[in-house]
Symmetry: C2
Subunit: 104 residues, 2 copies
């Protein structure tokens, strides 16, 4: 087992969102995303049979890529096939834990 302190890992960059692969194995990938206000993870999708979750740990913004933007705040959890378009737009500073299983 290994422990990661996401608060210590988190970094924010002025020019683009920041990310760190906090765990990566053939079973699952876990990525911490940190956004400054206004930054976004552009809508994207992959044509494979896998799932992604996005869990907001801190801050406010939107899950994007669906018909309408979905408000997202601390405790908001989005689950989606990776084949469906998904993304994140930050309104405030945001920390989002993203998981992909199986990794693609």
């Amino acid at each position: 087992m290994k422990k990661i302190e996401l608060e210590e890992v988190a970094k924010f960059k002025k020019d683009k969102y920041w990310l760190d692969f906090v765990h990566d194995s053939y079973n699952m990938r876990l990525i911490l995303f940190c956004f400054e206000p206004g930054q976004e993870l552009p809508v994207h999708s992959h044509d494979v049979d896998s799932e992604v979750f996005l869990c907001v740990l801190e801050g406010e913004g939107s899950f994007i890529g669906g018909e309408k933007d979905i408000p997202a705040k601390r405790g908001s959890l989005l689950v989606s096939p990776v084949s469906e378009p998904h993304g994140i737009r930050a309104k405030t500073r945001m920390k989002v834990l993203v998981g992909i299983a199986p990794p693609i």
Copy 2:
């Protein structure tokens, strides 16, 4: 895609920790655990090739099951093969997002 508000799902029970399967598919299972102070998810393991993560969303306690208890607080993330003993003990009220991939 589906969105779940973990803050709205969370419940606390006096007699035992509470849990809800917020997502369950053949790719991944996501479970929200809520603990009152002193409650614990007993140390357990399963002899299968799968991985589990435990992400503390709120509160303080310990990850248990290893050689020593590991302090856990908001933002602490534990990743472990499900075959290694793991559990959680709450010191304060705790909310913990647990993920298993592939589900067992």
